[in-house]
Amino acid sequence: MSPFSAAPGPGPVAARRRPVGSLSGSPLRWGVLAAVVLVALAADRLASGWLNAYQLHVLCITGIAVIMAASLNLVNGITGQFSLGHAGFMAVGAYAGAALTVKWGQPWAIYLGHGTPQPVAAAASFVLALLVAGLAAAGVGVVVGMPAARLRGDYLAIATLGFGEVVRELLLNAEAVGGRTGFGGIPQSTSLAWVLALAALTIIVLRNILCSTHGRALLAVREDESAAMAQGIDVARYKVGAFAVSAFFAGLAGCLFAHRFCFIHPDNFGALQSIEIVTTVVLGGMGSITGSVAAALVLGPLPEVLKLAADWAERASAATGAGATAGPSALLAAGLELKAHPEYLWIVYSLLLVGMMLLRPQGLMGDREVSLGMLRRLLPRPGGGEVGDGR
């Protein structure tokens, strides 16, 4: 048995060095989980007091984008398999979760007993919906991953793009979940707390995977499949696993999306959305979870921010009359031009993509993560000590 196929866990310390920052096997992880939940709840309470419903909505959208980008990074960046159909997994999760809540949400109140207050029953139903959404998406991820494991680079990209389109077509024809009219009537269970908690969970789990032996196997698959195979790594199994895990989180994001917008339609999960997520991952740095998160935090709310800017420009120019051509008026003109032609956003994205590949193919963060090791390296150390593992 090669050392790479051993499961992580407590063992002779000499045989493996636990990467810095990983909490596997440590009782501390339950504390971290508790902290995540409490921080999410606190942030929600705080934000609800300060922000209006629209601004909370934008934060939720951003959080969902973070989950999508981070989960896609597992496949595209860490395993090196270029998937262009991630929105398809999101769709599966969204529809599965929504179908459960809308069609079978009620029985949970009965299950838990008639005395259960409505919020508890609704939330329990939501937890179940999330689980079902994630697992359904993961199942589809396995189905997609199996043939995908045998396809190479460019072909895989087209095949995954096709997968996204197939999901969309199947959903358009699925009358039971609304089909081409859309699926409405979904209760708005997604609050900022849920989004924050699940985003944090996604990042933590992905980080743990990355820092574990499984993560190293995935990186080996990315770097050189043949060498990895020679080392005894079951490449096909790891590829399918990567698809499955990444699809699971995409499914969670989809369920969050469905319960936030309360109305879903196959057009919400098309090729356009897949390409948006891929752009986020590429610009943030394929292989860096921090990079994906950072890019999603910027690019997620960007369309809304631009809308606000364009609206401001329109109001300002209406107030001052026909714009002159000096200083701030140039900014106003730019804002007006943007309002009239939103395709500028995509022109900029595509130029960034091409520019990135030509000048800095590793993206914003490259392969690096913000980690305790990196922070430790930045601080002066008393003795020599081991070099912290920044990856």
Partner: protein
Amino acid sequence: MSGPTRYRIALVALLLTALVAVGGCPPSAAPKEPVSPAVPPPPSKTKATSGPEESTGSGLSGLATAQFAPNVPDIKVGAYLALSGPQATFGQSTRKAIELAADEINAAGGIGSKQITLIVKDDRSRKEDAASCVRMLIDQDKVDAILGEVASSNSLAAAPLCQEAGVPMITPSSTNPRVTQVGDCIFRVCFIDDFQGEVMARFVRNTLQAQKAAILTDLANDYSVGLGKRFREVFTELGGQIVAGDTSYAEGDKDFSGPLTKIAAADPDVLFVPGYYTDVALVAKQARTHGLRATICGGDGYDSSKLVELAGEAANGLYFSDHCWKGDPSPTVRNFYQAYQAKHGAEPDALAALGYDAMYVLAHAFARAGSTDKAAVRDALAGTREFAGVTGTFSIDAQRNAKKAAVVLTIKDGAQALAETIPAD
């Protein structure tokens, strides 16, 4: 069970309960609009309703002089439309007309001397953006009423938000019956697909004397599929026969040779294609090439000045149901036509006419309500009777739809011509 495991389970249970108890509560940031009792209209405005329905107001009459609550600075009306993306032509048309209407009203003194502030948002033809735009309009811009959208799916995406916040929403052109079923704050000023499908089925059967018809729908578009279903129902009820099964294409498809050859083999008298003009133009062009002699018919999706450019000669002889006809000699229509043409240098289409009417209907509802109180405006909208608009004279019925006449238009020598007018029932 070992010690630590028990504690872990307890901790997880505690966390879940905390999350459920707190996170599961509805967010406190968006309190529902309190439903206040409707403000009774000022006594001078009540009319005894006996005998035939009297109009609750049309055009500019009575707007500037309406009694209005003094403490509001202006009336904020929001609109969410597709100003870019694949449905941009629909959204732009509607926006221009809404703006025209708002400008006219403001120039004539506003509503009760309050000006209308129009806030238009672009949803980029995307449904999730439609919801975000409406969120923005309701919570950030704090509008008093909302106009939008054209495509029914987009309206369906945003209507629940308006309903939940109690903000009245009028869709100018969404024809799917489900839109107004979302709640009592959602209205429309156009007819619904059930009516439109029936109109065309009757026209095709009775006026065109068609015995056999084939249907080609856009499977990606609920408007198309809904119209097709209704047409099939009524046509078969009237004794017609549907041939060539249930062929469909997907939005954006360019090549219809497969379905058209199949349909041509069944030799129908009429081919019903209830899609958007971009696809229909290609169907019409290709139909001739495949030997189809059938007359091609459809719905209001055909209404566009571009149809003739895109279909060329094949556009002649198409029939389609629509909301209004620009050749109508009535002064309301003529004035609108001239004003739109003068301001935008292009001919208005039916979507523009509907947008224009929607704005005026809303304005009159504000005038009758006498304030920006959303519940009052909602009630006033529901009470709209005999509104004389560009798209006909209509009332808002109990399902919050507009009962109005339809016209059947045709293309003759590259221009729209009237074939028939169908009254409201």
